[in-house]
């Protein structure tokens, strides 16, 4: 469904001529608007009646009481209905409670894009308007969407956040009190230590790539937590680690994290800031630079953990050609196939977030992992129960999770 686009100047001309049509003899044409049953409340079906087909129809919408009409869609002359989605972004453009619609007949068919692109075409459209009498009820039709009364989504979201917070507090207290928390073994995590050991034996460095997204991305944050553990292990093994960064701020944080890892291991002098490198903010330039490192410095182990995009296969393929052990992990579903194909071990999705908890056993990280497990269980129950209920005509769970109401 197209997002309604305002076309103020052209629309003003269009409306002016439409107003002129009101002086024409009224016809039996009527416009009616209905909200489809069991919908999310954002879709409204506009339909109208007219015995003869004009060259085309224009459907316009305004909020109730407003004179700012927006041209939504141009339709062929034989059309008699249009389904309108009042907004596609309920956060930034929340829907109104009531809308009014107009349907105008056009003398010549035109395209919506043409109206916006060319003044000349817009003039043709304006001249074409109002040729047909009976363009619908001038007052339009009103419909109450009833969004406010059904919008439980934010409340459910708040409850989930609070529940996770409470669970984290409880699990953290449990872990600190000495309660054992089981974390399932993940093969890719064990491989990280093996990879560091292999690099040490071969006398070659380890390459760590924390993805190409900004620092605030959750995957980059998870990657930084893992980098701290990896750097500590590297320092213990007296090996070298090269960190290749795509974002300047990430480079600064990675630098601090690696330094801290070397301090934690008791080898602050072994830390070399030149090995934490900013390559380029441009995706493929970064990829080319990192490939250069893989090809020329020949790291024995490549660790790719974070958010990756199209460069994932290029990096992993170069590492494969270089015969490095490769461990990758990302929650970016579209890139996982490439890592699975070209790397020795791949951490899939959530496993990336489990790594830091698994390696460090930090009470806060472990409690976060356990709380997220409970959320997953909750979602599974909601999915299955929701499907059964919805199929019997009770879309309760859908409505609870729908942010836009419904």
């Amino acid at each position: 469904m197209n997002q309604p686009r305002p076309v103020p100047i052209k629309l003003a001309a269009l409306l002016l001529l439409w107003v002129l049509t009101l002086a024409l003899p009224a016809s039996a044409a009527t416009v009616s608007v209905q909200a489809p049953p069991d919908n999310d409340g954002l879709n409204l079906d506009v339909s109208w009646t007219e015995s003869t087909d004009p060259a085309g129809w224009g459907v316009l919408r305004a909020e109730a009481g407003s004179s700012e009409w927006t041209l939504l869609k141009l339709l062929p002359g034989d059309a008699r209905e249009h389904s309108d989605k009042v907004t596609t972004d309920v956060w930034n453009h929340p829907p109104a409670d009531e809308y009014q619609y107009k349907v105008v007949a056009l003398r010549a068919p035109v395209l919506l894009d043409e109206i916006e692109e060319s003044e000349q075409v817009a003039t043709v459209l304006a001249a074409g308007v109002a040729s047909e009498p009976g363009t619908g009820s001038p007052k339009g039709s009103f419909i109450r969407t009833g969004l406010k009364s059904k919008n439980y989504g934010p409340l459910v979201m708040l409850l989930i956040i609070l529940a996770v917070g409470v669970m984290m507090q409880k699990f953290t207290a449990d872990v600190r009190a000495g309660k054992e928390v089981f974390i399932r073994r993940i093969p890719g995590i064990d491989a990280i230590e093996e990879g560091i050991g292999r690099a040490t034996e071969m006398g070659k460095p380890i390459l760590y790539v924390p993805g190409i997204d900004e620092l605030q991305d959750i995957q980059t944050i998870a990657s930084m937590l893992i980098l701290g553990q990896v750097a500590e292990k590297v320092a213990e093994y007296q090996s070298d680690i090269i960190v290749s960064c795509c974002i300047p701020i990430v480079r600064e944080v990675a630098d601090e994290v690696v330094k801290s890892g070397f301090y934690q291991a008791g080898y602050p002098d072994a830390y070399n800031p030149r090995n934490t490198r900013f390559i380029s903010s441009e995706q493929f330039a970064f990829c080319a630079g990192t490939n250069g490192i893989i090809y020329r410095e020949q790291p024995a182990t490549n660790i790719y953990l974070g958010r990756f995009f199209a460069e994932s296969l290029i990096l992993a393929e170069t590492g494969f050609v270089n015969k490095s052990i490769q461990i990758a992990g990302t929650a970016e579903a579209t890139q996982l196939p490439f890592f699975i194909a070209a790397c020795d071990y791949t951490l899939i999705g959530e496993e990336l977030f489990a790594v830091s908890a698994y390696l460090s056993k930090d009470p806060r990280l472990v409690s976060s992992l356990k709380a997220s497990d409970w959320v997953k269980l909750f979602v599974v129950v909601c999915l299955i129960v929701g499907t059964v209920l919805t199929s019997f005509g009770l879309p309760i769970i859908n409505n609870l999770f729908a942010i836009s109401g419904g």
Binding site: V181, L336, E351, K376, V380, L383
Partner: protein, 260 residues
């Protein structure tokens, strides 16, 4: 076309051939293309950030006399944070750089909390619960006409998604039943990855075709081709690169080791 545009087209073809020379080996002409790409991207990034972010969001606001004193003072805060980042250059005060970094992470964590939850949990759950009755009425058990839509696909969605979620349940040991569920989850993931792999490989082939089209002049209007002569540019570029590789290889003599 202007002279600079024609030069740009030739340079583009030449650099493409330079990059393709990597198929022979890592060589200076490939490194030239690589370093040029890196340097240009960094330079472009700096200019883009200055004119797109730094100037309109900070400098212009500080210099704008129409803004009130309070609004101007607010604009000084990011300026101070920027200077704090530069304190990394002075080891003694490098700890100051942690403040703006912490500010960035904390602010975005707060801002993105609800957005992430909305996009990755609420909306996903709401849209993954099918109305099997309505699906049956519209598509039946399986509809070839609608790309396999139907009750089977809807049930597979719910069960596959549930199994995937349970596969990622880390804080409990897996008993036999859970292992089977987990295996089904992995199977679902691999099916999805396989489809995604094939789709993206097609995209990459399309990119390679795009470069080939540019080198052969198939992506331009005939009048542009008549001015640029892309095929001549390709042949000339290939000749230069091959000649260079021959000279470079001979100079290396017996010291040459492929891959180094």
């Amino acid at each position: 076309m202007t002279g600079i545009e024609i030069f740009g087209a030739w340079l583009s073809i030449f650099l493409t051939v330079c990059v393709l020379s990597f198929l022979y080996d890592d060589n200076p002409i490939y490194k030239l293309a690589e370093h040029l790409f890196l340097g240009v991207s960094i330079g472009y990034g700096v200019i883009e950030i200055y004119f797109g972010v730094f100037k309109p969001n900070l400098l212009d606001k500080l210099m704008n006399g129409e803004l009130g004193g309070f609004q101007r003072s607010l604009s000084i805060i990011p300026l101070i944070l920027i200077f704090m980042l530069f304190s990394k250059l002075v080891p003694k005060y490098s700890w100051l750089a942690r403040i703006p970094i912490a500010f960035i992470v904390a602010a975005y964590a707060g801002v993105k909390l609800t957005g992430e939850l909305n996009a990755n949990l609420m909306t996903q759950v709401a849209q993954s619960i099918p109305d099997l009755g309505a699906v049956w009425a519209e598509y039946g058990f399986w509809s070839w006409k609608h790309d396999g839509a139907g009750v089977f696909s809807s049930l597979f969605l719910v069960l596959g998604l549930s199994a995937c979620l349970l596969h990622f349940y880390f804080s409990a040991p897996q008993n036999k039943a859970m292992q089977q569920v987990s295996r089904f989850g992995v199977l679902t993931l691999m099916l999805s990855f396989g489809a995604s792999f094939g789709y993206t490989v097609m995209g990459r082939i399309s990119l390679a075709i795009g470069r080939a089209q540019e080198m052969l002049g198939l992506d331009r209007l005939p009048e542009q081709v008549a001015q640029i002569h892309p095929r001549i540019a390709t042949v000339v570029s290939a000749a230069i690169v091959i000649a260079f590789l021959v000279v470079w290889r001979r100079r290396q003599g017996d010291d040459y080791t492929p891959g180094n």
